[in-house]
């Protein structure tokens, strides 16, 4: 979903740039709470994995492809603030080194694929966690659900930006339908990859997974009460 230069007008690009900068500023403060000596190395891994996986376009219907965005995945693994920082590094490198995503659209891309997918992904993940059984084994499923929802919401956010600052007059209804139908399919791929990636780390070291911390804490709390 990398937005190139020219899709959105200058005021909109400036506005998303400001939102992205504020988001990164908040994330820098928030990440201090999420990262410690034990989990910090995971942040580098998550950013690298997101970059690599974004190169793997899978087919979605005739003549169209999509790739993992990774915002929900990153939020569950390292926490939402750290996730936004990881995603921003990926978009910066893609934009400057690989000419993927416009330079004036960098703020837009950080907003759409970073802030929106991380915030929506984390909110859906926490919501699902409350509904699903309070077990570590629920974490990959909740992450997959979060991933599934995050992609079409980011697509809708693009439509919203286009409605405000698109450089061509496009009927919004048809743009919405087109964006949603493709990105629901991409969301399914996103969910599958997220399930596998979160599942494999949860299987070996659940204590490293930020989204599993709460369940693990509850579990040890229950054990202590039982031994008393």
């Amino acid at each position: 979903m990398h937005v190139p230069d020219g899709f959105l007008d200058a005021p909109t690009s400036v506005a998303t740039g400001v939102v992205a900068a504020v988001g990164i500023g908040l994330a820098l403060r928030g990440a201090r709470r999420e990262l410690d000596d034990r989990t910090a190395p995971l942040a580098g891994l998550v950013a690298t994995f997101v970059f690599a996986t974004q190169m793997l376009n899978f087919p979605v219907g005739a003549g169209t492809s999509g790739h993992l965005i990774g915002g929900a995945l990153a939020a569950v693994l390292v926490g939402p603030a750290t996730a936004l920082l990881c995603m921003s590094v990926v978009f910066l490198v893609q934009c400057l080194l690989f000419a993927d995503g416009g330079i004036t659209a960098l703020g837009t891309n950080i907003f759409l694929m970073g802030i929106v997918t991380v915030v929506v992904g984390w909110a859906v993940f926490r919501g699902l966690q409350m509904v699903l059984p309070q077990r570590v084994s629920s974490v990959p499923a909740a992450a997959a659900g979060a991933a599934l929802v995050s992609v079409p919401v980011a697509a809708l956010a693009f439509v919203g930006l286009y409605a405000v600052g698109g450089t061509v007059d496009i009927p919004l209804a048809s743009l919405t339908t087109a964006m949603l139908s493709v990105h629901v399919l991409i969301g399914l791929g996103e969910a599958a990859i997220t399930f596998l990636a979160v599942g494999s780390i949860v299987a070996v070291r659940p204590d490293l997974v930020y989204g599993a911390r709460r369940v693990l804490a509850t579990r040890s709390l229950v054990l202590r009460t039982a031994t008393k």
């Binding site: 190139p4 230069d5 979605v60 590094v89 964006m179």
Partner: protein, 105 residues
């Protein structure tokens, strides 16, 4: 957690997987336009895309300039990109994290 897999092992294994994905598997990725690009073509605003300012950079378009072989060109670009991301994000996380000892912080 006795007998648990060490964090170092997970990070090393994970980075190796990422390097394989970016360096090898990426060759087999779909070359079709992605969701947004396709929608922009179908809806008639693809032509508003402007030339990328770094479009003639050495790794632009996930291809390594001067490497003729497509598989190698994309693979090298993917591996280099992964290492750059790992360096920035990994280094950044080490700077931002809470230190275990207050003396260091």
């Amino acid at each position: 957690m006795k007998g648990a897999v060490s964090t170092r092992w997970i990070v090393v294994a994970g980075v190796l997987v990422a390097l394989l994905l970016a360096g090898v598997a990426s060759f087999y990725a779909s070359g079709d336009p992605d969701g947004l690009t396709k929608v922009s073509e179908d809806q008639g605003f693809a032509q508003t895309e402007q030339e990328h300012q770094t479009g003639d950079g050495p790794l632009a378009g996930y291809e390594t300039k001067g490497v003729a072989d497509g598989r190698l060109s994309g693979g090298v670009a993917g591996v280099l990109g992964s290492l750059v991301v790992l360096t920035i994000a990994g280094g950044g996380a080490l700077v931002v994290r809470r230190r275990r000892t207050s003396a260091e912080a």
